[in-house]
Amino acid sequence: MKNVKHPMDFYLRMDRMPHIWCTGCGIGLTATAFVAAMEKAKLDTNKVCVVSGIGCTGRFAGYIKLDSFHTTHGRAIPFATGLKLANPELKVVVVSGDGDLISIGGNHFIHAARRNIDMVVICVNNFIYAMTGGQVAPTTPLTAYTTTSPYGNFEPPSNIPQIAESSGAVYVARWTALHIRRLTNSIFEALNKPGFTVVEVISPCAQYYSRINRLGDGLDMMKFYHENSQIKHWEPTDNLYIDYQKEIIVGKFVDRERPTYSESYKKWLGE
């Protein structure tokens, strides 16, 4: 053990480790996938910004050694919009949770996709509000228990890829945190694609979601997601609803071309 420096340390704020994510959480895996994708894309790390909202995934920005912004709840996308428009050289990545991006920030998500602002959105979906102790989220599957749905959730969940596609995102993919190489590849593709790109990561919440629903520990959830996920590329996004402890369809669903906001802005202003 001569060399105890992890190859990813260069991209991480090691002075802040260990991170706050629990044992068996998938957000750490999203971080490794993101770092690996960034390395693969050979991006100039000085020009990459990470913006996060609030929540477990909201802490992502704090552990990545880039210009990183931990903003208010749900507002990572508009903050990133300001960054990107004011300095088009920047590569802006928004990493946040399902509650942050789809619930409180849902409107911003829709409109940034509509404008096709050049940014990568990595949405870590753990089906629950974990930072606040396990409340029902917009993505909580039907019948799942949470602290605020003690009789089982009866609100139909959001289908993130469908929202993204119908709003105008140019790239939409979904993987579980365990599909680490495919996830890395999707983030890599998203980083290289101009426009609003969305990668949804199904992540186990080993503390709250699993405990209240008796799903075992992080490893058990991982195994379950792994065994019950089906790769179906180009699956129509309206088939992508996730039912409680049923099959999860993963894959790359959308990859299309649309002019980005900055391109159109320049074109219409006649530059």
Binding site: R13, D15, R16, T45, N46, K47, C49, V51, A61, G62, K65, L66, D67, S68, F69, H70, T71, T72, R75, I77, P78, F79, A80, T81, G82, L83, K84, L85, A86, N87, E89, L90, N107, H108, I110, H111, Y265, L269, G270
Partner: protein, 385 residues
């Protein structure tokens, strides 16, 4: 630092308050406006968007006022001078990011063209109802600078001043205007770019690897860097340490919250801008701001003609409040008159600083009423009896 000549529309123009505000922003080097249309502030957006191409600026109409201010903060961290413009209901939505702006010490300007409230109220009527909201609206303890011009010319100059203050103290600055000033068309003299003083952003100068986002200088203001310059900094709206990392302890509370307050309070004398008229021999002082101060001028002229010793104190900076000046005056004068287009907001501040020394008479203009000097004049006369 000189302004970009293109942004400065040197000359004498007939401009409305809103248009003058947009011109002031451009002259101050503002190149990013994000807004959501809301009367009576729309002319600022319209003027700015018409000039976007000329000056190579960016305008984006966001989906709501929450995202508007978030985008402004983002643009400010990307190195652009940024502002937004709104009215009461929009300001209510912006409160979240005024707090974030204060916490992240982000220079930006928020223009609030007030309308009658509460809620949707009367979109196209003047009011001064947001005076306290501008100061205390966001949660937690903080200090903020609020400027209240009273003419299109001042809308121009004070918008530039607002940008300078926000850069100097690294804080959001609010400009309050109201429907009457916003739509009043008057002569506005715009000086050449070389005559406009601009405060440059306090940029960090040391070695890159030693940069700490919240390590402050003697003036309590930390130097800033922009995203994409290679500093790889982290900032958070949580209570943080010098590095910008979230830490919840007493020391960081001191570093953050106390310093954020002190960096304004310690420089109150440099920030506060008031206009005094006939105060030397005054027995009655009218404390006013914004559109009401113009009514006051008229009343004062008449009262002086009648031989009443009356003076005027006009607040251009309303927050931080000029405590000292009011306190000093309270020992000297018989009475204060406070006319406002609300039910008594600055009145409370005057009462606080008065310590019961002088009499205080509040002149309340009901919302939406055409302003008239008579009620002020009557108040002055009643106090002389």
């Amino acid at each position: 630092m000189k302004t970009n000549d293109k942004g400065v529309l040197t000359g004498t123009h007939n401009l409305s308050g809103n248009q003058a505000c947009a011109e002031g922003a451009l002259a101050a080097g503002c190149r990013f406006l994000s807004a959501y249309p809301i009367p009576p502030s729309i002319e600022v957006i319209e003027r700015f968007t018409q000039r976007v191409k000329e000056v190579d600026a960016i305008f984006i109409q966001m989906e709501d006022e929450i995202s508007v201010l978030a985008a402004v903060l983002g643009a400010s961290w990307a190195g652009k001078k940024a502002m937004t413009v709104t009215s009461g209901p929009g300001l209510s939505l912006m409160m979240e990011h005024i707090g974030l702006g204060v916490m992240l010490e982000t220079p930006c300007v928020i223009v609030n063209v007030q309308r009658c409230g509460p809620s949707e109220g009367t979109p196209n009527s003047p009011s001064q109802g947001d005076v306290m909201q501008a100061r205390w609206g966001s949660h937690g303890d903080y200090e903020i600078i609020v400027i209240y011009p009273n003419s299109p010319q001042e809308m121009f100059t004070q918008t530039i001043e607002a940008f300078n203050l926000s850069e100097k103290y690294r804080t959001p600055v609010v400009i309050l205007s109201d429907e009457s000033i916003a739509r009043m068309v008057e002569k506005v003299v715009i000086p050449p770019a070389s005559k406009i003083n601009l405060e440059p952003r306090k940029h960090y100068k040391g070695p890159k690897n030693k940069y700490l986002p919240f390590k402050y200088d003697k003036d309590l203001v930390p130097p800033m860097v922009n995203a994409g310059e290679g500093y790889k900094f982290h900032i958070t709206g949580l209570t943080h340490d010098e590095k910008g990392y979230p830490v919840m302890n007493e020391e960081c509370q001191e570093l953050n919250v106390h310093r954020l307050v002190r960096k304004i309070r310690n420089y109150v004398d440099n920030i506060i801008n008031i206009e005094e008229k006939n105060l030397s021999d005054a027995e009655i002082v009218v404390v006013s701001y914004g559109i009401t101060s113009r009514t006051v001028d008229k009343a004062l002229k008449q009262a002086r003609k009648d031989g009443i010793k009356v003076g005027s104190l006009r607040l251009i900076t309303i927050w931080p409040f000029p405590d000292k000046e009011i306190m000093k005056l309270s020992k000297k004068v018989k009475a204060f008159i406070v006319p406002e287009l609300n039910f008594g907001q600055i009145l409370l501040e005057v009462q606080r600083c008065n310590y019961g020394n002088a009499k205080i008479r509040f002149v309340e203009y009901g919302h939406e009423e055409i302003q008239n000097p008579d009620p002020i004049l009557n108040a002055i006369r009643s106090l002389t009896k």
